[in-house]
């Protein structure tokens, strides 16, 4: 009996490991930046290029940084969710326009609507590298102290905001009061 129990145990352990593996998306690589201060940058604003913006300008606020581009197809799918976050839940979202052309980006916002408090232009993707961006769209949730609390890789969906983003935003804002 014992000689069957051991291989059976090994087999079950293997199945459990593989089953856990199946539920995970290998495309989603956990970011080492979570729970770290935001990487600093100074970038020109998309609509007013003479004016710069940096994360320090948002100090003391709970805000989101959403990485988007006009060439990014899944950003289009996500746009509705981003808009709802702002309009229905009062989130403050800064857009990081990643490796885009300014004219294309402005056209895109005109066409699909502009929910962003402002967008900044990361034309050569340098700031993207500093933020560990590897798949657009990506979204970072940043707290009052300028610490990244959460990173969402890929397009946010209605479920992902109700499950993760909104509870976190409420929790962070509650800490303020």
């Amino acid at each position: 009996m014992n000689r069957f129990l051991i291989p059976l145990g090994i087999f079950i352990a293997l199945v459990v490991f593989l089953a856990i593996g199946l539920t995970r998306d290998p495309k989603i690589v956990p970011s080492p930046l979570v729970d770290k201060p935001v990487p600093a940058f100074t970038l020109p604003q998309l609509h007013v290029p003479e004016k710069n913006f940096g994360p320090a300008d948002m100090q003391g606020k709970v805000w989101l940084l959403n990485v988007w581009a006009s060439w990014c197809v899944s950003c289009r799918a996500e746009h509705e969710v981003v808009t709802a976050l702002v309009n229905d839940h009062g989130a403050e979202i800064v857009g990081l326009n990643y490796k885009d052309h300014r004219a294309d980006a402005m056209e895109w916002l005109k066409h699909f609507g502009d929910p962003y408090a402002l967008s900044v232009s990361d034309l050569d993707g340098r700031v993207g590298i500093d933020w560990g961006v590897y798949g657009v769209p990506e979204t970072f949730v940043i707290d009052q102290a300028g610490i990244i609390r959460y990173k969402h890789i890929g397009p946010m969906t209605a479920e992902s905001i109700t499950e993760k983003v909104l509870p976190l935003l409420n929790e962070l804002k509650a800490a303020d009061a």
Binding site: P26, K27, V29, P30, S31, P32, L33, K99, D124, G125, G128, I129, D130, W131, G132, Y134, G135
Partner: protein, 156 residues
């Protein structure tokens, strides 16, 4: 024939073009060797089973550029690796450092190998201890008959 040749020519021209990567100029061959070694050791996060050297993804191009600039600036290999790891995590390294989260990755194959050897040794030892009962005379005769007799006479 001419058409076939032309088609082939166009095909090869196309592949040659697809294979083009940026040309970076280094001051010393040592720098160039370090650059090549670095981009072979770093993973592209967009196409996860390719390194930066093989990948054509835009991010890979940007990170090659980054690596090139850092080498030009005189950064050490460790500094470049740290730069990538603080942004993208250990996953960018094809050889991640040994720590709690990667311990099983590094030690796993050796644990399995040792476990296999232990099982094998046990089996060999147990088999060695088994006493095989000697054959009786009757069995010996029967075996000899079976071996020596032509098959057709053996069908009793």
């Amino acid at each position: 024939m001419k058409r076939v040749l032309l088609a082939l020519f166009v095909m090869f021209a196309a592949t040659a073009h697809a294979g083009t990567v940026e040309v970076y100029k280094f001051e010393t061959p040592a720098q160039e060797a370090r650059y090549k070694a670095m981009i072979a050791e770093l993973r592209c996060l967009v196409c996860q089973n390719q390194n930066l050297a093989d990948s054509n993804a835009e991010l890979a191009q940007d990170l090659r550029q980054q690596t090139y600039e850092m080498i030009k600036r005189g950064a050490t290999d460790q500094e470049i690796a740290d730069f990538m790891v603080t942004r993208y995590g250990d996953f960018v390294l094809y050889r991640p450092p040994f720590k709690a989260t990667t311990a099983f990755l590094w030690a796993g194959p050796f644990i399995i190998l040792i476990a296999g050897l232990v099982v094998l040794l046990n089996m060999v030892r147990r088999r060695g201890r088994q006493v095989v009962a000697p054959l009786s005379d009757e069995a010996h005769t029967r075996a000899r008959n079976l071996l020596e007799d032509p098959p057709e006479q053996n069908n009793q």
